[in-house]
Amino acid sequence: MKNPFLLPLLTVGLLSSSAFAAGKLDAVSAARQIDSILAKDWAANNLKGNPAADDNTFVRRIYLDIIGRIPTTREAEEFLSSKDAGKRAKLIDKLLASEAYVQHFFNYWADVLRVTSNGNQTGAITGAAYATFVKESLRQNKPYDQFVRDMVAAQGKAWDNGAIGYYMRDRGMPLDNMANTVRVFLGTRIECAQCHNHPFDKWSQMQFYKMAAFTYGVQTLDYTGGTMGDVSDLLREKENMIRASIKEPQRPQRPKTNGKMSKEERTKLEQTYQREQKAYEEQMKVVNQKRNEAREKFRREQRGYQEAMTDVRNTMRYTSVSSRDRLPTLPHDYQYTDAKPRSSVEPGTMMGHECITQPGETPLQAYARWMTSPENPRFTTVIANRLWKRVFGLALIEPLDELMDTTVPMIPEMEKHIEKLVVDMNYDMKAVLRVLYNTKAYQAQVTREEHAPGNVYHFTGPLLRRMSAEQMWDSFVTLINPSPDMINQANREVMEQRILQAKKIADSVESLSAEEAFAGLKKAADIYSKNRERTDVQQKLYAEARVAAKEARDAADAMPEGPAKVAAVQKADELRKKSDSIRSEVNRIQNEGRRVTYAEVITTGQKKLFEKVTGKPYQTVALNTKGGSAEAPAMMSGGGDMMMMSNGTRTEKIIIPGYDRKELSKEERQAVADKARAAYAEEAEFFGIPEKERKSYINTREQISRSTLRAAELESPAPRGHYLREFGQSDRETIENANNDASVPQALAMMNGSLLPQITSRYSQLMLTVNKAPYPDDKVDAAYMTILSRKPGANEKAVWLKAQDSGLTSMEDLVFSLLNTQQFIFIQ
């Protein structure tokens, strides 16, 4: 087994020698070890393992478990018809290697990490970057400990490091963030200890604060440095200059006396001094007053600058995480004797070894290293249980995030074994999952009896589980879309662009010197400084026009029918139009400052950035006539239309390589379209679509692939009211908040929602499969295969035959009924 070429790698990566190091080749034998530990446990408890699951059950389950959806009929049949003895292991490998595995696992981590891709505490930009980071980490199969370190030690800008979302998610709540960290990664609940010693566990409030001290310096507040920081300095400098320009009077000198002076002389000197001092103080009072007035005046004048600067800063809101020296202080009512209230607390670990910062690493990195060390036992316990639970539906320790010193795993030997497996495999989540999916225990039938919470389960097979919200949604997508995993690139680009455009603005602003930025801000400030006055005028006009319009309308309504009324109504409408136009004018005035900021600061910066990136001078090639600010984030784009501002500024769109999606050439666009079409054509071929229908098939398919996206490709969480939410998707507000309970809105959605018509439309995967089958019996088989990955039993056929007597004759009837069975949404 020992491969000499592997040895150097082993010494780098692994401390303990291991048979697993060679990777997946050993997954099957590693699975046998687990099976033999279970067999021993069953024997000791007089239990038998569940019978093996048949291939039909297995194929549906493994697709749902690894890639989060039911198989298409094509996929199921390919597996079922294979005679390969190792086909299960091969399918596991294939599925684990797919992009759909990433999507399905993302749904899980998004729930654990509360990933909100579009807004909430993280903001839309960092939110998108955070979601992308999690997906990319899973795509690379980043070792779990590295994944966690990346988040816990995250610093920088959203576009450079999406992992900062981990801190931004709890923006402004560093103590809560620590409680969440300890719960998610160390499986320990300490949130109670934030306010007092933990009532049910050993943790003290002091321990909580010591832990919090590690990350208390992490800054999630608005970005302040760079060009805009320099502009602030400039303004401050000006303010100081104005202050200095008002000269102070000379301070009188205290008289020097010597022993030779007479008493009279001394008194006289003293009196003169007192007089001068008094005069000085009077003058100083005036000076100070003048200085204050000058400062107030300056600041009033500066308000326009502040507005414009806020416009710029708003585009970079919640996109930066940095750290500074800052320690938490105990609350004012700290009640224990080990420290005084309000005293500051130094970092200290709550369990395991000490955390010592090594040369070359930041304290935050040291803390991340401590947290993810194999010597920090709970770190491994938690992930081992998460993976086990993913596979079997129940963890060896329940709940897996409420560990205590007295916690006993259901099968202690197994717990030890899995933890060692995780460490030996270097926290390679995919490798561990591969081993678990290859166990006989996983590949057995689900346990018939319900597992009662609080009881010990011996894992004689997986538990019967309801599909998660995402599994349900993605299975519906599968019934509709013949290639459900095909990626809709255009959709992905939307999220990429959201991040990239923020980076573009930030880098553009940073390309400007403080003076250049200041010059642009001045133009916007000039507009802002007139805002109040201009708006006040319009506001007054608007109020009058509104009243006039309303009175005219009321009067017109009260008139009897006739030509006079018609005229009055017309008059009222005109007055209404007049008031509307004043209203538009108010909006225009209010948006102008922002537009000018964008045109004079950000666009100017973009030109410089363009030159920096391309090394070529920027020339105004053509003014974009279609929405010059389309690329600006929503908060910047006041209206969208290109327009001339009152100061003559125009907006224009500047394309910068590396920041803007490269416009594809006609040929390239064609190539992309051809590729998709070739895939659709292949489907059409498979399903036997006649030549003359091909065009309509491809058109419909294009539309399907645009409109039926898998859960992980949508915003996280989906908006309220989306099927995903009705099915119980987590709102991402608290850790693991997904909900698998039955609910009335869910039943209503299943019976009456808009999904069924899509599933039974002509070119859905389901109907293509059904229509391909030649005879009525085959069609029923096809429907069963597509929905449940198995053929109907004799009983079921009989029930369907009988139902036909009661008027249910179409396949649509059968499909509706099957989708509304519980076996559809439970994973056997």
Binding site: D176, P199, E307, R532, T535, T734, A747, A803
Partner: protein, 435 residues
């Protein structure tokens, strides 16, 4: 029929509730077992909770939430003769001594039913945090979600006489704490457009066919259900029964606003808010106990004196008609209308002719449900900057709503994470609001 259906409807949430109760019980047990080893102060957190109890003055609450931060200066607490007043003028109302803004002329005619609170004060100056505190009495935290009042009501008192969910939210505001740490079954039913009614409530097929299809599904699933007699599997069967019962429920008529006379519908205002108020009345009539209607657009950083009168137009029609309609139907006595917002807006007018966030002093109004009529509680100074009389914290305000509903303010409920909470976080009800 109603009662039976109501029982069925809550059943779908039974499992989670049972689990929840078990968990709560075990945590209470934990306290008992560990009691002697605890320091006394660890659990002294609730000694400040109000023990005040009374017979409920209101059965139902219609909660009108002005999302974005309503300018108290231009609505319920207008000023005169000071720069901070801006162009807004106070007008007389149907109640002696109560003056409100000129932008609310219809509501002014209903103020004899109202108690205005002009002394609210919050510690939260950002929308998310302010909204959260107003709805839950607690600070927004990263480790837990606290329940909104409707969810507390569900837990303490259960449903009304309706097949409909007991807690309904009408509007598009995406911010709402919902059930908080209570089971999802306690969350409000979200209705985003009052004119569209409930989602997915009608099946497109003829009734007979629909029934035959459901029967077929049931028969095809028999083996599965027999093989796996699990609670969650059973819950699904029940849930389908409940959903089908709901589809046939008479109470669904509440959502058919076309039953109302055109004049009345117009009086409420054709905007979603006005129709939402009308729907709220129809729901309350059918025993729904907590209805929230939200109206956005109050975040008037810019051109405040253009935006606020426009918002007020919509508000005025909906609110004034709701009060008079409830009164005419004899429902106002039992129904507490509450109107509030996350914070007020700065007395100082900014350079964009707008007003910014101002949690320090702002207003709320209550109508009916046992509150005094034509009464003002609390006061700000003449510029609207500071509360100078009878300061009301958010917790006190929420405690007053709970008090009106007869909810136990001092009862400690444990979250599934075993943390103790009370309904208004130790707020003291303002008994002076009540007649």
């Amino acid at each position: 029929m109603n009662q039976e259906l109501a029982t069925k409807l809550v059943r779908s949430g039974e499992i989670t509730r049972r689990d929840f109760a078990a968990k709560t019980a075990s945590s209470l047990l934990g306290v008992g077992l560990l009691g002697s080893s605890l320091t006394s102060r660890s659990f002294a957190a609730f000694e400040g909770s109000s023990k005040l109890k009374q017979a409920a003055t209101a059965k139902n609450v219609i909660y009108l939430y002005m999302s974005g931060g309503q300018s108290h200066m231009d609505t319920w607490d207008p000023k005169e003769g000071v720069e901070t007043a801006g162009p807004t003028k106070p007008i007389k109302t149907s109640a002696d001594g109560v003056r409100i803004s000129e932008y609310l002329p219809l509501t002014a005619q209903q103020m004899h039913h109202a108690t205005v609170i002009n002394s609210l004060t919050s510690t939260q100056g950002a929308h998310e945090q302010g909204n959260y505190m107003m709805h839950t009495s607690y600070e927004l935290r990263g480790t837990i979600r606290h329940p909104a009042m409707g969810a507390w009501l569900n837990v303490f008192q259960g449903g009304g006489n309706s097949t409909l969910p007991n807690f309904v939210f009408i509007g598009n505001d995406s911010r709402h704490p919902g059930a908080g740490f209570f089971p999802a079954a306690q969350a409000p039913l979200f209705v985003s457009n009052p004119e569209n009614g409930l989602k997915n409530i009608k099946n497109g097929s003829p009734e007979e066919k629909f029934q035959a299809r459901m029967k077929l599904a049931d028969e095809l699933d028999k083996d599965f259900r027999t093989t796996y007699p699990h609670r969650n599997v059973k819950a699904y069967a029940d849930m389908y029964d409940d959903a089908m019962a709901m589809m046939k429920s008479e109470d669904l008529k509440a959502f058919d606003l076309s039953e109302e006379p055109g004049e009345l519908r117009a009086a409420y205002g054709r905007e979603a808010f006005g129709q939402g108020c009308l729907l709220a009345r129809r729901l309350v009539e059918r025993g729904v106990r907590f209805v929230e209607v939200s109206l956005g657009g109050w975040d008037t950083h810019n051109a405040n004196f253009v935006a606020v009168p426009e918002r007020c137009d919509t508000l005025d029609k909906g609110l004034a008609t709701l009060v008079s309609d409830l009164h005419n139907r004899g429902l106002l006595e039992d129904t507490l209308i509450v109107l509030t917002s996350e914070f007020g807006r700065t007395p100082d007018i900014n350079q964009n002719a707008g007003r910014d966030h101002y949690p320090k002093a702002f207003s709320a109004v209550t109508f009916g449900g046992g509150v005094k009529g034509g009464y003002t509680y609390g006061k700000t100074d003449k510029e609207g900057r500071e509360v100078v009389e009878n300061k009301v914290k958010i917790q006190d305000f929420n405690a007053s709503i709970a008090y009106a509903l007869g909810l136990p303010l001092d009862q400690v409920i444990y979250s599934p994470s075993k943390r103790p909470f009370t309904i208004a976080d130790k707020g003291q009800p303002i008994t002076d609001l009540f007649a």
